[in-house]
Symmetry: C2
Subunit: 170 residues, 2 copies
């Protein structure tokens, strides 16, 4: 009837990265077919003050790591934002997934008693573990997967909503 904090996050993140990997593969194939410099897609963005495709992947990676870092005592790996190619982005995803897959399912068992403090400039938000998960971690993670999808679609990559939703067997 209920779900654990682990169930609603770590497998959801891993599945999300699988979907991002499939999006990257389609973007790579499209660039090759249309003879587009892949960096055009890697650096594409929807608005001047939004992150480019690469940034969406980097923030999805960071959001998943930070969820563990903020809700547990696990030390999370640090990945500098140096990706400039699809190959780099695939490596970033692989490293992030390796970290997530290495976590024990019990890692978030006490996470609802943690307080998370989010800082936005001078403003701070104090959130309990559940609220952090439902009001920040999951919405933020899906924001970056969706925006990565939207950037590619806006640039003509032949993908559709089903590429975002992914296979249900995963």
């Amino acid at each position: 009837m209920s779900l654990s904090m682990y169930q609603i996050s770590v497998p959801v993140f891993i599945r999300g990265f699988s979907i991002l990997s499939a999006l990257i593969a389609k973007a790579e194939a499209y660039a090759q077919e249309k003879k587009i410099d892949p960096s055009v897609l890697v650096n594409a963005r929807l608005a001047p003050d939004m992150l480019p495709f690469a940034g969406q992947i980097q923030r999805a990676s960071d959001t998943s790591k930070a969820t563990i870092g903020r809700l547990t005592d696990v030390k999370t790996p640090s990945f500098p934002d140096e990706e400039t190619s699809f190959a780099d982005l695939k490596a970033r995803i692989a490293n992030t997934v390796a970290f997530l897959e290495g976590l024990d399912a019990s890692v978030l068992d006490s996470s609802d008693t943690r307080e998370v403090i989010l800082s936005f400039g001078p403003n701070k938000a104090h959130l309990g573990g559940h609220d952090y998960m439902l009001k920040f971690a999951l919405p933020n993670f899906f924001f970056h997967i969706t925006t990565a999808h939207d950037i590619l679609r806006h640039n003509g990559v032949p993908i559709g909503k089903l590429d975002y939703l992914g296979a249900y067997s995963n």
Copy 2:
């Protein structure tokens, strides 16, 4: 330590509609300030084969209702997709939220034993309640909120990521 199917869906949906309402208010103010016909924003889309802003709101509404319809015996209201203005979209949101707010928190208590069958053309996916929630309902809902945000941002509406994340006190 764990969360109920209700906790991870209905309040998340209601909060999402509050965020969409705030986005609409900013889009309306922007159209007025810049003397843009509001229907330009209502009908704006990121790609020719993607839904416009109005469609993103309609599908967010439908996703939230279908989650209840597929996982319970509750009869869900039907809303025809006839919205053509910001006022119409605000009414659609209000009607959807009224339905969600009227649900008892126990409504999804047995939902993990339900099987949901999703049809995509000739393909059908059979999902248990948990999988349906985590692999379809929540990702799909956040897709539409994010894409609504992305459409407005792409069109110059002065909003940022914090408008998507919303106030944590909600």
